[in-house]
Symmetry: C2
Subunit: 99 residues, 2 copies
Amino acid sequence: MILLQFDFPMTGPWGAEMAEAFRDLAEDIAAEPGLVWKIWTEAPDENRGGGLYLFETRPQAEAYREKHAARLAGMGVEGIRALIFEINRPLSQITRAPL
Amino acid sequence: MILLQFDFPMTGPWGAEMAEAFRDLAEDIAAEPGLVWKIWTEAPDENRGGGLYLFETRPQAEAYREKHAARLAGMGVEGIRALIFEINRPLSQITRAPL
């Protein structure tokens, strides 16, 4: 399994308003090929948003990274940071990781 | 719950060797106050390591961020990026997040 880490400058919406604005997008992402889960992150005080994704395979994570970066750029988002990581399983197991 | 996202330049060890080198540290981190889980991330091809943490409260995440950044600096790590995020629960629920 592969971890995809997105973060980028964002000025809102946050919280319940964000949940309302992106509900359809979340349902679309939930059906993304190979997606195990996504955690939606937000730092309103620092004007930063993001997401953490677990994918079954690296090609799926790479395809989604390209697609989502283009989607964010289309929303006017700049300064996107999107990193793909392998997971160290033995260490993650010791720290109760949900894999 | 609060998400803490660390990443930083690193030249290894990776994989099984990394798991061996940091086993004691992982056991120490597993006992960190308020830690729900940590996922250990590694990108050997990009010389980058990191970690994703779920904490019960923001003060616990902040205390750990300070402690871990100092520990990494003590290992000679520079260019540490350590961000704290809130979690958007309704959206994360739609995408099956393990919270």
